[in-house]
């Protein structure tokens, strides 16, 4: 063979490999979903094997003449929220036949990694994505489109407008669907078994709560079901929820953002109380390894804990068929306010805020359509639909008399009317009448401080791995500059 022929074959092979490497790949996203499937089996609740979620890459071309919108969403294992998003997408497509919306379902961490990779690479990112307020760096990097002139803000409470804004940046970057409230769920059957009566104020004092935890532990129950197997916030929520009524939302915010030293008598008192609780058996033995889906089952089906500190997204994981890991509708838990440390300045304060929402990525080829979709969601009827489907409060204001979906619509979406009425009666009583909801952030300060906060309050104090002094020193040595 001549040298020219060798060269020709070599160049052809090299080019073909390069072209092959540039083609989009189909990836089966199985790790996170498979982990949760296996975990659910181990907790001995019979669960349906969840269908593995197939992640498709961004298609290159729209189908026919239609505009293709790719939407990546969190909540892969929350059927009610999936129902909502798919309903909205279907409604938009019906109203706009020239638009095709493809929704891909993820678990949160793999989704964030994928957004980061695709936006950095400049290729493969969707048009719309799940967005959480703490991902400020996405906004700083210019990855998100400004929604200030897009969403009908008159349909949202003021805190939801502010949630998507960041100091030093112009614009509002997030569509919130849910108004989250930090709840304290209590198992009334265990309380009855132990002969403990809930106070009328639905709030234990510091001493009362410690005594209740001791009684729970003596009877073989954990104080709370909260654990930290696969989340950096589910354990520290207990301490943070107790912090807010004690020192008020402003002081809590300054500590959370790492703006000032935590070496104060108040912070020390909070940690000392939590050390007492931990020593009294507050946290389950499996605190270090039990994941977020597991601890819901631990609370509502296995009933191994007296309390659960969880925001309103509890319903997304629990108000689903039992065979999918949901709770029995007849398990009618109660709500309480967080326990009040002696000398608390804001006894009725209960944290409220947001959960995951949506944003438009700046790489979208169809910004007008993507914006139109988010504006479409901002209608009062979808606020009502959100609450009707997910049983969690909506960030979008609505009039229940006129905007609530009809029985036929709800039946078509698989909603059993009246099934969770007891939940709403209890919720409205405790968090509507007894509590004063105060908006707080979920976002801890800068990187190093954020890690220190998690180490101290999510891992160290609850597991007795850090003393109060060590926790305070860890936080103070990493304050945000």
């Amino acid at each position: 063979m001549s040298k020219k022929l060798y060269l020709f074959i070599f160049v052809t092979l090299a080019l073909s490999m390069l072209l092959a490497a540039c083609q989009p790949q189909t990836v089966i996203e199985t790790v996170e979903v498979e982990k949760e499937k296996l975990v659910e089996v181990v907790t001995t609740v019979e669960v349906e094997v969840e269908k593995l979620v197939e992640v498709t890459a961004v298609p290159d071309q729209p189908k026919g003449d239609k505009t293709l919108i790719v939407w990546w969403s969190h909540w892969a294992n929350e059927p009610a929220k999936r129902n909502f998003v798919e309903k909205v997408a279907a409604d938009y497509e019906a109203a706009n036949p020239d638009v095709d919306i493809v929704v891909t379902w993820w678990d949160k961490n793999p989704l964030r990694d994928a957004i980061r990779s695709t936006m950095t690479a400049g290729e493969g990112a969707p048009d719309i994505t799940t967005f959480d307020t703490e991902m400020r760096e996405w906004a700083d990097a210019g990855w998100l489109m400004d929604l200030e002139d897009v969403l009908p803000w008159e349909n949202f409470g003021p805190s939801f407008y502010n949630d998507g804004r960041y100091a030093g940046l112009d614009g509002v970057f997030k569509l919130n669907l849910s108004a989250a409230v930090d709840m304290v769920l209590v198992n009334p059957y265990i309380m009855e078994e132990l002969g403990i009566e809930l106070p009328e104020s639905r709030q234990f004092t510091q001493a009362e709560f410690l005594d209740v935890v001791k009684q729970c532990n003596a009877a073989g129950y954990a104080g709370v079901a909260n654990s930290i197997g696969n989340r950096p916030h589910t354990g520290r929520r207990v301490i943070e929820d107790i912090m807010v009524p004690y020192v008020g939302v402003d002081q809590f915010g300054r500590w959370l953002r790492g703006e000032e030293s935590v070496d104060t008598p108040e912070f020390r008192k909070i940690l000392e109380f939590n050390v007492e609780l931990a020593e009294a058996g507050m946290y389950p033995d499996v605190y270090a390894t039990m994941g977020i889906d597991e601890y819901h089952v631990y609370f509502h089906t296995q009933q191994k804990a007296c309390f659960l500190f969880n925001p309103t997204w509890y319903t997304g994981r629990s108000f689903k068929p039992v065979e999918q890991g949901g709770q029995d509708p007849n398990f009618q838990f109660k709500f309480m306010l967080p326990p009040l440390i002696d000398g608390g300045v804001a006894p009725n304060n209960v944290r409220s805020g947001v959960e995951s929402g949506y944003a438009i990525l700046s790489s979208t080829k169809h910004p007008d359509v993507a914006k139109d979709i988010l504006a479409f969601i901002g209608q009062p009827k979808y606020g009502a639909l959100w609450t009707a489907l997910t049983d969690s409060p909506s960030a979008i204001l609505y009039d229940a008399a006129t905007d609530w979906p009809s029985l036929e619509e709800l039946e078509a979406l698989g909603v059993e009317s009246g099934k969770w009425d007891w939940y709403w009666e209890e919720f409205n009583y405790v968090y509507g009448e007894l509590a004063e909801l105060v908006v707080t952030s979920e976002s801890v300060g800068c990187g190093n401080y954020g890690d220190a906060w998690v180490q101290a309050l999510n891992e160290g104090i609850p597991q007795g791995l850090l003393t109060v002094d060590e926790a305070i020193e860890l936080l103070d040595s990493n304050l945000c500059q």
């Binding site: 060798y6 070599f10 490497a21 996405w138 270090a288 390894t289 954020g450 890690d451």
Partner: protein, 312 residues
């Protein structure tokens, strides 16, 4: 004898064309792999070196890249989590892990070589863990070490050893040892197979000679086979050392470096700093990766110099 019979025929002179290596075909066959290697291995390595000299920060809607020289490397020396947890744990693992693995794998290789009962079964069984994905291994052992209902603690409680039913993954001292054990379980089969192959390659004549000279099995193994196994042993040790220095998937699934970074390794800490620290800066984690790359190179060089001697 005639002069004709004494004629020595001259060797035929070979042409240049007949001795020339077929470079064309050589290139043809290795080109795909070389291109792949250049794009997916060499380029990322150089890119990591390059990024380690920069600070990459999103600001005002843009990503600002600033040259900082060796500042990222200097910052590593002040990073307590990196030095006191990640590096410490990884070096501990890189010392203890290969030691246990080499002793175990060598012993098992000898047992199979000397054909203990069921040696064919063991040859397969001991290699099987290598075939299981690291993610699955991590998941399964996370359950086994579960403090409440894990197989280990349930067994310990059943036989009256409640005091040993620890919170294996939730204490300061035990998680890193769980990680070391689980990784050992999943990888010792690889070392075992390579060492067994090395033993099988030793010529039988040498063993026969040793037997004739009066060596028993233990003496033959110690004085003849082990020295001859040295090159294979060193190679396997280097591979084991490198594997521990960069292991990620088992640790990540098992503990994610928790609690309080007590089971943190360099690989998991790089992952966190790169993707989970509320920043888009890749400069600092790149510096971590480069510095660790150099540490691994030094370690491999030391192992080779220390252990590789010619066999007499």
């Amino acid at each position: 004898m005639s002069a004709e019979h004494l004629t020595i025929s001259k060797p035929t002179k070979t042409t240049h064309k007949e001795t020339q290596k077929p470079w064309g075909w050589i290139l043809f066959f290795i080109a795909p792999l070389m291109i792949y290697y250049l794009i997916f291995v060499i380029y990322p390595v150089f890119a990591t070196f390059y990024y380690s000299l920069f600070n990459i920060t999103p600001k005002g809607g843009q990503i600002i890249t600033t040259f900082v020289g060796f500042d990222n490397y200097l910052a590593l020396l002040e990073d307590d989590i990196f030095i006191k947890k990640a590096v410490r744990n990884t070096l501990l693992w890189a010392f203890v892990g290969p030691t246990i693995e080499m002793i175990t794998a060598t012993t098992l290789a000898f047992l199979v070589y000397f054909k203990i009962p069921l040696h064919r079964f063991y040859r397969t069984a001991w290699f099987l863990p290598m075939l299981v994905s690291g993610v699955i291994v991590g998941l399964v052992f996370r359950w086994i070490f579960n403090v409440d209902w894990g197989l280990l603690n349930v067994t310990l409680r059943a036989i009256g050893l409640d005091q040993f039913a620890l919170n294996w993954l939730g204490r300061r001292d035990t998680p890193i040892w769980v990680v070391i054990f689980v990784h050992f379980w999943s990888t010792f089969g690889y070392s075992f197979v390579l060492l067994l192959a090395g033993l099988t390659a030793i010529p039988d004549e040498l063993l026969d000679a040793a037997r004739i000279d009066g060596c028993n099995v233990v003496q033959a193994a110690w004085r003849v086979m082990l020295p001859l196994l040295r090159p294979t042993f060193v190679t396997v040790l280097v591979l084991s050392f490198m594997g521990k220095m960069r292991a990620f998937n088992v640790v990540w699934v098992l503990t994610e470096g928790k609690p309080l970074h007590f089971s943190e390794t360099v690989a998991t800490y790089i992952q966190k700093r790169a993707f989970g620290w509320g920043t888009l800066d890749m400069g600092y984690p790149s510096a971590m990766a480069v510095s660790w790359f150099l540490v691994v190179i030094v370690g491999v060089t030391l192992i080779n110099r220390w252990l590789k001697r010619p066999v007499d």
